[in-house]
Subunit: 414 residues, 2 copies
């Protein structure tokens, strides 16, 4: 992974996680992810370190642009002991792409841009070319280890990785892998230490426990337990799953890999939902519409940030706000009812809270968030929680709590 | 950086970017970021690689939890040649924290949890202890290089890094650094290749160009040019900035580090804004309210996902939608006007587009997005653009385009 912009924290690395997921699916063990700036010596040091770890495959991303600070291909060629050669076919391909791209920017000197992009047609001799999705081609250099060179922008990297996997060179490099199975259990409402205790006990009671590779992680307020094992150890996993179910039946919401978002999408099928958000200001509506096809069940929402918006757009009684405060269960319930009627929906959810850093009081400290689900065909469900973290954490976690409350209301476990 | 959950792509690494920023501010050059799973051999291999790079400081994050898969402290102790010893004071501190935490989870056996957390009181002999923010303490082990061990959760790592920097050991390790200056220019509406051309020309015309460390990066549809230089090379930077301004005056929107979000927050001071969103479904409202204090100028918004919501909540004429389609400039303008009046705002912005993957037509392919800004005290500004990428990219980029359109409308350069 190269790119000074990633190293300096200005861009979050999305390629590491993407490639990690794909490798896991292929059953390829990922040992190391390394990032460095666009400095040849650092790139080379990392390649050498990785090669020393007795790996079959190295994947680089980034540093393939037309600017002079991009030099991954050059460094990889040297590292693999290959000459850098101009590929005329590739040069023509890049020329076509750039010419088309430039048509959108009439002010730019196309000739000069073409000259800059020509550098991208230089590849290590004998390497397999991966056709560009943007303007930058990738390459696969076969060897010990085989090196796959991909561009930095995730939109380009992702399809080009699929192309790379299809090459004989990559298939040969990953031929020796062990096939693992991986199962995920997701919980909500349990602290990590509580799970640690259960796992410690399971160590004594689950036969074959030590052949399960278990990792636990707290994410967006949910606990995720991922277990990897070889197919013959399935019985051990089944026993572990039973041990988890024995203790945490209420907290486990998924054992088949489904995210809460998947479950909500399923539960909302045939329904019509509207949102009423104050502190989260649209994050929940945005989350509900992340997946294609959500227009079948999302009517819309109101971001009622100001109190006037709560009364004018959701019909919340102003005296209710005066009596209980904007962050209160009666106001959350009124917001949900308002959303239900204004959007002609059958399902509505409201969030009102103190995201901070200001606005907290003794009775309602920063992190206090009230939620209410209103159903045309069921009882309302209202809850207040205090969420940890900063403004962004509180807003983010509020959407997760809302999703789980919605799940409980829609499955009748409110 | 350790943590199997980060390596397997299930959690995005937020600590690398955070620490990178802090080190940059301190003038400390960051050479390498490495990630591996919670496997002792891999952690040790990375520590050895980093130590071989002749660095002054290694920072690890993650692997400090109570579960058995967390073993960073143990590995670091061995790597630094220190014994692992139990610190009684630290044990008491952790005990207090865990006891308080457990009060929130009445069902959990506090004694068992305490036993698990006791492992976190084991530290390398002679190390400086960093008090826990969660339950996990950090340590600083002085040496060549000095190693700082921090927990994985960003909420814990960030304050503990501040404590680590204040220690004599870290101050000694970073004493020899060169002080750099760093300046950032941000542009919108220019392709990366166009900038590459300008920079290539600047190489010939800007005296001292080769002493500037320039990195460019495309992010959320904006181009960011970051230049690092030693203080005596300020004249070279000034000349570079002039060269950029000569060519790209219209595209440069920031030369002082300000983000478009900072500029919009400033421009909205004393105003009152409302949003009307279709394809972005709340992302713009959420972005406008990311910063504390935004309630002073954000009234709220409507997520008008369904056409009925556009007519019912924003007063868009249904015949307008029939005549032009929901994704059209007339509908965007009507949505903005509706938001202006329904929220009693003086500034409103509407977004309606085809985020995909379905819904595209020949005339309005996926990525087609219409924007409209309505001002109580100025002319409306309406634009249609075609944005690249997948559903998530189109939605995300739409908020950026909206921010820039808003900027132009509010500065009178619509």
């Amino acid at each position: 992974m190269t790119g000074t912009e990633v190293l300096t924290g200005r861009v979050a690395d999305r390629n590491g996680p993407y490639l990690a997921d794909r490798l896991l699916e292929l059953g390829v063990e990922l040992s190391h992810i390394t990032l460095c700036g666009d400095r040849p010596a650092d790139i080379e040091a990392q390649l050498r370190f990785l090669a020393d770890q007795d790996l079959d495959l190295i994947i680089t991303s980034g540093g393939l642009g037309p600017t002079a600070d991009d030099m991954t291909v050059e460094v990889v060629a040297r590292f693999c002991g290959r000459e850098l050669v101009l590929d005329p076919g590739l040069e023509a391909t890049i020329g076509d792409i750039v010419t088309r791209l430039m048509a959108r920017f009439p002010g730019v000197d196309a000739e000069a841009v073409l000259a800059a992009n020509r550098k991208q047609a230089l590849i290590p001799a004998g390497a397999v070319i991966l056709d560009p999705v943007g303007t930058a081609p990738g390459v696969v250099v076969e060897g010990h280890p085989t090196v796959v060179v991909l561009p930095g922008p995730p939109r380009e990297l992702q399809p080009m990785w699929q192309a790379a996997v299809a090459t004989d060179a990559v298939q040969a490099a990953i031929a020796g892998r062990t096939q693992y199975r991986q199962e995920t259990v997701r919980m909500f409402g349990l602290p990590e230490s509580g799970l640690a205790e259960t796992l410690r006990d399971a160590e004594g009671t689950v036969p074959g426990f030590d052949r399960l590779e278990i990792t636990t992680c707290l994410r967006r307020g949910e606990l995720e337990i991922v277990t990897r094992f070889e197919p013959q150890d399935e019985a051990a996993y089944t026993a572990l799953l039973e041990a988890l179910r024995d203790r945490h039946a209420r907290e486990i919401f998924s054992t088949d890999g489904a995210l809460i978002d998947d479950q909500i999408a399923e539960l909302l099928r045939g329904r019509r939902i509207a949102t009423a958000e104050s502190c989260t200001a649209g994050l929940l509506a945005a989350r509900l519409t992340e997946r294609p096809g959500s227009s079948a069940y999302v009517a819309g929402g109101v971001v009622a940030y100001a109190n006037a918006a709560k009364t004018d757009l959701l019909g919340v009684d102003a005296t209710l706000i005066d009596a209980h405060g904007a962050v209160s269960e009666p106001v959350a319930e009124a917001m949900a009812r308002g959303a239900l009627s204004r959007f002609g929906a059958d399902t509505a959810i409201a969030i009102t809270g103190v995201a901070g850093p200001g606005g907290g009081t003794e009775g309602k400290p920063v992190g206090t968030v009230c939620f209410s689900v209103a159903l045309a065909d069921g009882e309302p469900v209202t809850r207040t929680t205090t969420l940890p973290g900063n403004r962004s954490d509180v807003r983010e976690r509020s959407t997760t709590v809302a999703m789980h409350l919605l799940r409980r209301a829609l499955t009748g476990h409110g």
